[in-house]
Symmetry: D3
Subunit: 186 residues, 6 copies
């Protein structure tokens, strides 16, 4: 599984959540987790979370750390399970700085303030996850917290992104390992 | 999904990891997470984790809190993903008593001492997970820690078991919710 | 599974056969069977049954009872099997008024006159069924019969719609029950 | 799909519900529906319906018309859907003699008396259905009705068996047809 | 499985790789392999092979023998396996004229010159393969060889197309046969 | 994917076709192709090819080159497709010595004499292939040919085994590559 941190900023507008984005953009063929920094502005027509559309909840942020995961199987339930595992992994890594977080499904909170947004969906050839963490909490639609406040200053973002990407890739490798070491039962 | 705590102790010997055990034993039809307290003695011929068999790692403990999960689909990779999510959930709940734990795949540790054992496998009609937490760390094959030492005395075990079971059931409900609220992308 | 009868009329033009229509329209999240009354006019570009397109068979009716089923799995063969089971259920319920019907796959007939139209297809995140029964047989492209003539006057349509929806939901519940009570064989 | 009526009687004891039974017994390779006449005696250890085992409901009958269906895919939910469709097909055919039946899931009743028993399960390489109809209602564990009483005398059993088998095979052909004539929707 | 050779030429521009093309064009319902002769011009916006798009490798040829395969299941890995088996079958048939070919995945070469292009992809209801063999090697983007040079003159093309189509259909029949004659192991 | 040639001889008696054999025997975890040299004696009770059992065709040979493939997915049709691709790969490699072979499904022939035996089946956690090539054609149940006669003397067997294993592993890698470079079509 490819783990990659894009060295420049990218505006996340929802069009990145498209099959083979990592291949078309960076030549990464196969399963990948790609991280980048950038603002977030998703117009309603590009939202795939219809709960947000129904509630007319806008999705935006001035400065976020984004992850785009693509895995080449075809099971949306697996994708949602992986999304929540990614959320748990991020929580475990962020807490190393001493601030306890709360996970509710695919959301992370610090003292009732929202740190993250996330969605998992399917493409005709793969499943994909978008996960984004506020770097600062300015200009967000709900009470929010940012990575800086949690002890991860901007200078650490690339390193943090790689640590999260690598931990997710390791977890996926571990899942494969576990899947291949058991016999069935009756 | 049924959440049930068995009021009496049961010796876990590996034969509980068999399809429809919850239905045959307690009349629980459909997806379930069943918890019980009891010792653990698994003979090599009942071990489904062939890594343990290869290493000749015995599996036993004098007093453990066991969970048996059965879900009626047929995808071992999903089962392993769920197993790790269950591990993350248990970590999140146990840490409420203030002792930080470390998750490594499906294992939980406290300061290099092992708290848990776990396996996920498939049956002809479902997938199953066994997860067990030491209540005390006496008579275990490796350096271990128990729930009592982590702030969960024996009197709290039934309540803890139900809290974990309910959190897992809620997570599965949330996974279904997330799976049904998105449209696909191209 | 949600069972819902829409209290107002809707023109069925084929655009209702789109993923998460029940969620976007009525907030029903997850598996659902939604019924409504209304005319039917499907332009060729919205037809998903390419047999009808090839034969240039128009699909219309002045007054029909429609059902839209959405189930969140990804197996078109299951969807077709469910469609035929829904057809059998409708036959069983309608025959309570004493008129014997004939089922041919997903079609219902009364004395060589057509009562129903139906299609099952897949979306990127689910499978869907459209089933519609003539309320009256006026202005239909083929010799047809309507529910009124079969003993179900207009005043009974909401009740009939709910009975069919509930019977289908019960059948799906029963399918899940049957799927979870058996062990495998060799 | 092979449709075959075995010319001699066979005691159904549950061992027929084993993968490739039709191939091993009659050389029928691939999907098949095989019918035969014979008594029914299933010991508890051969029962795959654990609901019957839990209730200690014996399964027997002196003279029954049996169907064994095997289809080479690996989806137990599909198998249960097909089982209920087979039940609906049998109802439609039997009612030609003028006695209205009631279907409840995979069971058929005539005036509260049970006509049929059925189970669907999975093998390592296929899914299977057993369906049996009482020919006479003598010596059955619950109030029962037989085919003879419903207007299908013993002399008609072979013909009836073939009609049911052929109708099921035609339905499966129709399901495949329906699955291959639609385009997807968004 | 339908095997069909279109009696007139068709320009392959990529739009043929669309679900139910064989049904819409020729009334062939269900699995099919359709062959035709014609030039090849695929604009980048119709290319599904994003490796070609990334490399800006144009896809064209003045005179090619095309195959369009559609099979109604939903597994892209199966489709790629079938594509390579089709490539092996074509190699086996072409070598009857005495010129040894080299297969590299889904490509065929004669002495470092390219004979074929191919892609496998998924539709919402099926999987599809496009495979095309140069008839002559004029006006191709890379060093190429054509069927004529390999001993298959233009007059033999229809016969060759049918032989390949029939061999592929026979292979698929054989795959089904093999899948239905084994029992599982533990 | 692990490629391994066992340095000692093994009697193939059918018990090697069991899930995780490569892991239990050689510590190879995950997908693998393992080759070894040895005689072949499969008793009828260990035969999984019921066609052979029905025909009472014994399976034996004094000196064969065996391949055991295990891949951790759960689709028997994929396994059969891979089995035939493996057969095509072996043909391509063996023909380098100048003797043309004929492939018929999963069988290889040289001038009407049989070179190989093969079967593909499923386990509860994976799918498996057994493929064996006669090294010499002595003491075989049907007219046979051996590798020695085809230009592959005994001294070359280890090298040949590794070449075949590596070519299969490369092909599987290529299949994954092809599966991950395409977008879907409508």
């Amino acid at each position: 599984m490819h783990v990659y941190f894009v060295p420049h900023t990218i505006l996340y507008d929802g069009t990145q959540l498209t099959s083979l984005w990592a291949y078309r953009s960076f030549g990464l063929l196969g399963d990948s987790i790609v991280a980048f920094r950038g603002p977030c502005r998703v117009h309603f027509e590009h939202m795939v979370d219809l709960e947000d559309v129904r509630k007319q909840s806008p999705i935006y942020g001035d400065d976020m750390l984004h992850f785009i995961v693509e895995q080449f199987d075809h099971d949306l339930e697996r994708a949602v399970l992986r999304q929540r595992l990614l959320t748990a992994i991020i929580k475990e890594i962020l807490e190393q700085k001493g601030h306890g977080l709360k996970r509710a499904g695919d959301d992370l909170y610090y003292q009732e303030r929202k740190l993250s947004i996330s969605i998992a969906t399917s493409t005709p050839v793969s499943t994909m996850i978008h996960m984004a963490l506020n770097i600062t909490a300015e200009n967000t639609p709900v009470p929010a917290v940012g990575l800086v406040e949690l002890g991860w200053p901007v200078a650490l973002i690339p390193e943090l992104a790689k640590a999260i990407g690598q931990a997710y890739a390791d977890e996926m490798q571990g899942v494969k390992h576990s899947r291949c070491k058991v016999k069935g039962v009756v």
